[in-house]
């Protein structure tokens, strides 16, 4: 039932503004892929183009072997969950889910008893049994989200598209729904593409993450691969916290300042470089890159110390244990040294 989704060289402009600049993406049958990017990066445009809600200027979209160009919205058989759900305000939950089945041409429309059975099964699947007669205005955000999902699944879609599925929910509901969606995907196995601007959500939920920036795909890969091997400084900074040091790479060895040699460095750069370092890969030390403490605050179980260094752009954030002797000495204004264990190097 689920098919591969292939996007080839998709181009889209809004007036003079290029929203998509030759985007290509392959989603395998049953795969769950996140489109991650800041606002204005083109991720929602890409999703809407796949659904057929936006006209594109170039490239093509395939569902399995079928070219979707010129295919009507109905014939695409796309399950689409809108950011604000777009539930039919004048229909109750049951009628919302039944809409796609009732809307079929007479010959293909299942009999009423079957529609009832299938809608009930879907409402069970999304754990909304008993809320059939509620109207959208009488449902919570999380419940609306699940009605929208059940409605999209009712037409047995070939591809499932979700636009910021958790964007309008509060943090706790978000976490629960995320886990629940992951389970649901494992059970139903729909080819799924979802849009998010939340890197944590993308990394936790998706089989693979596609990172968009300014209408270009910067990198596509498994969450681990993207985190460990970011293809660009943008990807590195967008997929997690990163400190930016200024350094130099010579013969595969990176140096910060005059003397500090990095034990590990990744990236095919020679000469001046931006060295991006995850907070976990930098620590207070008795020697290394010099700096001055500019702030310290609680961060979960530990401390986060903010350091200004002439060799870094912006504030360097270092995690430390509260009982660490060096951390205790690191009062505001105190001179400290940093040990950098690992960095991703990109052209400066």
């Amino acid at each position: 039932m689920s098919v591969a989704l292939v996007v080839e060289n998709l181009e889209k402009r809004f007036g003079e503004f290029p929203a998509l600049r030759g985007v290509s993406l392959h989603v395998a049958p049953g795969e769950l892929v996140a489109l991650l990017g800041p606002s204005g990066s083109g991720k929602t445009t890409l999703l809407r183009a796949v659904a057929g809600l936006e006209q594109t200027e170039g490239g093509r979209i395939l569902f399995g072997d079928q070219d979707a160009t010129g295919l009507s919205l109905r014939d695409r058989r796309i399950g689409f969950v809108f950011q604000h759900y777009a539930l039919f305000a004048r229909m109750n939950a049951f009628e919302n889910v039944a809409f796609g089945l009732r809307a079929r041409p007479r010959g293909q429309r299942p009999p009423d008893s079957e529609i009832r059975a299938r809608v009930s099964a879907l409402l069970d699947l999304v754990q909304l049994r008993g809320l059939e007669t509620r109207f959208p205005a009488q449902l919570s955000g999380g419940q609306k989200q699940r009605v929208a999902l059940a409605r999209a699944l009712a037409i047995e879609p070939r591809v499932l598209l979700l636009d910021e599925p958790f964007g309008a929910l509060d943090a706790q509901v978000r976490r629960d729904l995320r886990r629940w969606l992951r389970d649901l995907h494992q059970r139903t196995g729909h080819t799924t593409l979802f849009v998010t601007h939340d890197q944590e959500e993308a990394m936790e939920l998706a089989d693979r993450v596609a990172i968009l920036n300014g209408g270009l795909l910067e990198q596509v890969g498994a969450p681990d691969e993207i985190y460990e091997n970011p293809a660009s400084a943008f990807v590195c900074e967008f997929t997690g916290e990163a400190n930016r040091f200024l350094g130099r790479v010579r013969g595969g060895r990176a140096t910060i300042g005059d003397a500090f040699d990095l034990p590990h460095m990744r990236g095919p750069v020679e000469g001046d470089a931006a060295l991006l370092v995850r907070p976990a890969d930098v620590a207070l030390a008795s020697a290394g890159v010099p700096g001055v403490v500019s702030g310290r605050r609680r961060h979960g179980a530990g401390l986060r110390i903010e350091i200004e260094s002439p060799h870094a752009r912006g504030i360097v954030e270092v995690d430390a244990r509260p009982d660490d002797a060096l951390a205790q000495a690191a009062r505001i204004g105190a001179p400290v040294f940093l040990h950098v264990a690992r960095a991703h190097a990109f052209p400066a």
Partner: protein, 285 residues
């Protein structure tokens, strides 16, 4: 701001004065004329009142007015829905021009609207002779009255629908199409139920104006008694002939229509506010 507000509230005399002024104005200029219409109409007694309404010319005027409204209101509903939907959903060249055109009848004197049709379709007009040759009468006949009425009533439906459709947004419609609905089903199952209250509101206003229009119709009708006089024209003709009671009898029907429209409008507004309130949480989240 708050200080000024509190200051005003501390002066009950000022408030009372404003209220008295407002009510006195409304009573003098709105309620009193309305009451006079009924008083004058019924002065000769109920029997005479009914006899005035039963006169052939009066009945012909009623029939014509109902016919004109029965043609104009459905046309305005269809064209208004289509125009409002196009304006609310699409960005196209000439969209602003279309918005301005929708409002044009509000800014043009109805007499001008009538004259324009005489110039176009009258005996000496651009298309008049040709139409005459085909045996079609537009001016001094029903088609002319319908055209003039359409012109002055066009904004009512579209004007009500455009802001409402823009507030609702298009994602419900997109969802319906993606779920496999045909455009017709999308329209009847989603669009129409969503805008039904503002549509009804527009229809009421449109109908009241279609039945009550005087200026534009007066120019194109020719006032042929029993044939091209609508109720407002009939009222004026009788009044000019010093048949006050008969004139007020027909006028009382128009006044009654105004009162019914007002009541229906209040009812629709009340239902509309309730349905907006029911929709609001869904839209705001």
């Amino acid at each position: 701001m708050r200080g000024a507000d509190a200051g005003l509230r501390e002066r009950p005399a000022a408030r009372a004065l404003l209220l008295v002024l407002a009510f006195a104005f409304l009573a003098l200029f709105l309620a009193a004329p309305l009451a006079i219409v009924f008083v004058e109409a019924l002065r000769p007694g109920l029997g005479a009142y009914l006899a005035h309404l039963a006169e052939p010319d009066a009945r012909a005027a009623m029939r014509l007015t109902l016919t004109v409204a029965a043609i104009c209101v459905p046309i305005n509903v269809i064209v208004g829905l289509a125009g409002a939907w196009a304006i609310a959903r699409f960005r196209f060249r000439g969209r602003n021009l279309l918005v301005t055109l929708v409002d044009l009848p509000f800014s043009v004197s109805p007499v001008i609207a009538g004259l324009v049709y005489v110039l176009l379709f009258g005996a000496q007009g651009y298309f008049g002779p040709w139409l005459k040759a085909q045996g079609i009468d537009v001016i001094f006949a029903l088609p002319g009255i319908v055209l003039a009425t359409l012109f002055v009533t066009f904004p009512f439906v579209a004007r009500e629908l455009i802001p409402h459709m823009e507030t609702i947004g298009s994602s419900e419609e997109e969802a319906a199409l993606l779920l496999g609905a045909s455009p017709w089903r999308m329209f009847f199952a989603i669009v129409l139920p969503n805008v039904k209250w503002s549509l009804l509101y527009g229809v009421l206003l449109c109908n009241a104006r279609a039945m009550g229009e005087f200026g534009a119709v007066a120019v194109v009708s020719g006032r042929i008694r029993g044939e091209t006089t609508t109720m407002p024209l009939h009222v004026e003709i009788l009044y000019n002939e010093y048949m006050g009671a008969a004139s007020f009898a027909t006028a009382s029907l128009l006044a009654l229509l105004a009162l019914v429209t007002l009541a229906a409008k209040a009812g629709v507004e009340w239902r509309f506010a309730k349905s907006i309130a029911a929709q609001a949480p869904a839209g705001s989240e």
